[in-house]
């Protein structure tokens, strides 16, 4: 069975360049200004909420004593998880030689970076007296205390900052040849200068490409265990504690599967509108959306397996506290969170068993949005719902978010979308050089009539 073409309608290399490098060259369309005005306003108000929090104290959030971690850490885990699909697409699918990744990897990697930026905000502002944060740095002199490197919280700092740095390198390395394309087409002085700086003098000689390819391969190789380690390390924050509902050995694979699931939902959420608005239908085809839906289905089902396995272990483990916590997830006062996550993450993706639903923009978008919401519910269920009824019934509490909680989270959504809008406006949204390299004519042994001169020459040689 012949494989479907990566780029539809037999488009030429020049057509691809015109389509993708043309986006930063044209004036921004009206919808872009409207969108960035809205997302930028949310982001700005989020900054105000953060300043208010730093000025006043963490008490402006709804946190209370059994629920010392609530929205802040939920949002952190939610955003970190979103990033995982980007690295999966760019690294793991690269090692698996999944050529379809070329159409989506650039924007998925950008999404990773922006999601990690949003995530990093929460633990930083959650520490309370942020001006004392230098205490966590390994400086032995002031109080003769070395940071506790055996703490999962510190592992997390290293994991997330390594993840951000390596993802940035991966993204930027891939961007260099494409920025060079924009540089070579640029007309204005400012554009020539800026893209020229960013392209670092790239000339596309094979003596450059061979180091580039080796570096790209190795970055993919080291990002693969890295991406699996990051959410595992995040899950250690919970798994190494003794709280029922947190103290679970299944957490690392369960978190990673959930992260990839939630990330793919976010990739679909962002790509479907940008594909329509920039008319990228020949580059990001239905086949691409189809395979991403299949990964969503697979990881959603893995998440569903984890939910049920947690339940089974709670039953089989015969720990009354743990049994109570898991029943409380679905039958306690937060039952709607439990059902929200189960419906959004496990049941809705099952629609993707049907081919027609994988190829209909409305069903794909519906499932993606359900998964986005479901993943947030999942993190809230794990973190907050497990905490709200702890060992001592006299300390049981409910959580009521304040306006600062809500608008800080809305602010990070605004920041995320603002950064993504800037990205699709000013940088090549699709990895042009990689898309060209999967065209049939990019194969050096591709059959096409050679100039008669060369054919004659080779015949005389033979």
């Amino acid at each position: 069975m012949p494989r479907p073409a990566m780029v539809e309608n037999n488009r030429s290399m020049h057509w691809i360049t015109n389509l993708l490098a043309g986006i930063p060259e044209r004036k921004a369309p009206l919808w872009w200004w409207v969108a960035i005005a809205v997302t930028g306003s949310f982001a700005t108000f989020g900054v105000f909420c953060i300043i208010y929090l730093l000025w006043t104290g963490v008490g402006v959030w709804g946190n209370n004593l059994p629920m010392a971690w609530a929205w802040g850490i939920t949002n952190f885990v939610f955003w970190i998880g979103i990033g995982h699909a980007g690295t999966l697409i760019s690294a793991i699918l690269f090692l698996c030689r999944q050529k379809w990744r070329t159409a989506v990897n650039r924007s998925a990697e950008a999404m990773t970076l922006f999601a990690v930026m949003c995530a990093a905000i929460f633990p930083a502002i959650h520490v309370g007296r942020i001006w004392m944060i230098w205490f966590v740095a390994p400086v032995p002199v002031p109080n003769w205390i070395w940071p506790n490197f055996r703490s999962p919280l510190l592992w997390d700092v290293f994991a997330v900052s390594t993840y951000f740095t390596v993802s940035f390198f991966f993204w930027y390395l891939g961007l260099v040849p494409d920025v060079a394309t924009v540089r070579d087409r640029a007309r204005g002085r400012v554009a020539k200068f800026c893209y020229g700086l960013l392209a670092l003098g790239w000339r596309g000689g094979h003596r450059q490409w061979r180091h580039y390819e080796m570096s790209y391969l190795i970055l993919a190789g080291i990002s693969t265990p890295l991406v699996l380690s990051v959410h595992s390390t995040v899950s250690f924050d919970f798994a190494t504690s003794l709280i029922p509902g947190w103290h679970t050995t299944i957490f690392p694979p369960y978190f990673v599967a959930g992260a990839i699931f939630g990330g793919f939902a976010m990739v679909l959420t962002l790509l479907i509108p940008s594909r329509a608005l920039f008319k990228l239908h020949d580059v990001i085809t239905w086949n691409h959306i189809d395979v991403m839906c299949k990964i969503t289905l697979l990881t959603g089902s893995m998440v569903g397996y984890s939910y049920r396995m947690e339940f089974f272990v709670a039953y089989y483990g015969a720990d009354p506290f743990e049994r109570y916590i898991f029943l409380n997830h679905y039958f306690g006062p937060y039952w709607w969170v439990g059902y929200g996550m189960f419906i959004g993450n496990v049941l809705m993706p099952q629609l993707f068993w049907v081919r027609a639903f994988r190829r209909n923009v409305w069903t794909v978008y519906l499932v993606a949005m359900c998964a986005n919401a479901g993943m947030w519910f999942e993190r809230f269920a794990i973190i907050a719902v497990s905490l709200h009824r702890d060992f001592l019934p006299s300390s049981w509490q409910m959580y009521y978010p304040t306006w600062v909680d809500i608008f800080t989270f809305a602010g990070t959504i605004g920041l995320f979308l603002t950064l993504f809008l800037l990205f699709i406006r000013f940088l090549p949204t699709v990895a042009m050089s990689e898309v060209k390299s999967v065209l049939p004519e990019a194969d050096p042994h591709h059959y096409e009539p050679l100039p008669a001169k060369i054919v004659a020459m080779e015949e005389t040689q033979a």
């Binding site: 290399m13 020049h14 390994p138 070395w146 506790n148 490197f149 055996r150 703490s151 510190l154 592992w155 290293f158 994991a159 390594t162 740095t165 390596v166 390198f169 390395l173 040849p177 060079a180 394309t181 540089r183 070579d184 087409r185 670092l200 003098g201 790239w202 000339r203 596309g204 000689g205 094979h206 003596r207 490409w209 061979r210 180091h211 580039y212 390819e213 080796m214 570096s215 190795i218 970055l219 080291i222 890295l226 380690s229 390390t233 250690f236 042009m432 050089s433 990689e434 060209k436 004519e441 990019a442 194969d443 050096p444 042994h445 591709h446 050679l450 100039p451 001169k453 060369i454 020459m457």
Partner: protein, 186 residues
């Protein structure tokens, strides 16, 4: 002295090729002719071009290994030795000794990856002598299309076998179009 009177130094000869397949075959011919200071430019990396140009595998992999190893050593020096031996801090009454090393694995792993990542990223640019602000190739207007859909071979004047007329003729003979002599920028 007028500008025209200054004899500009030759940078090399450039020729354009129609497709990846043509570039590949031409590169094999240039390799067989024994040229050493030359390059094949394309909008994307072409599979198998290392063999066609007679180049070895990039040595970057070995360099990155040592970068990663340095990261591992950094982690050992940063966390394991200080925490276990120099500034022991007893948390939760847990032991502080040689055998608690598994608790240090996550950061050892992360720093190995981090340093390898730094080496991989900056290694490409060091090996390629980038970034640089200008290059004689950028003076040749058609070369701007190399990042779009054009394929070029450039043989530099530094090559021992380089002869302006002979090399130009050779490039035409192997199917190059628009063969042009390029000069150094200054």
């Amino acid at each position: 002295m007028s500008a025209a009177a200054v004899k500009k130094r030759t940078f090399g000869v450039i020729a354009e090729f129609g497709s990846a397949a043509e570039l590949y075959r031409a590169a094999e011919r240039v390799r067989d002719q024994g040229y050493r200071f030359w390059d094949a430019h394309s909008p994307f990396p072409i599979h198998g071009m290392n063999e066609a140009m007679g180049l070895k595998k990039s040595p970057l992999g070995y360099i990155i290994f040592w970068g990663g190893f340095l990261g591992f050593l950094t982690a050992v020096l940063l966390e394991y030795i200080p925490t276990s031996f120099l500034f022991p801090l007893i948390v939760h009454g847990k032991p502080v000794d040689f055998f608690t090393v598994p608790a240090f694995f996550p950061i050892m792993f992360e720093l190995t990856i981090l340093f390898a990542g730094f080496t991989a990223f900056f290694g490409v640019f060091v090996m390629n002598r980038l970034p640089r602000l200008h290059h004689p190739l950028f003076d040749y207007a058609p070369f701007a299309r190399v990042t779009d859909d054009a394929f070029f071979i450039v043989i530099e004047s530094g090559d021992p076998k380089f002869a302006e007329a002979g090399t130009s003729e050779f490039l035409e003979e192997i199917g190059g179009r628009g063969v042009t002599v390029l000069y150094e920028s200054d």
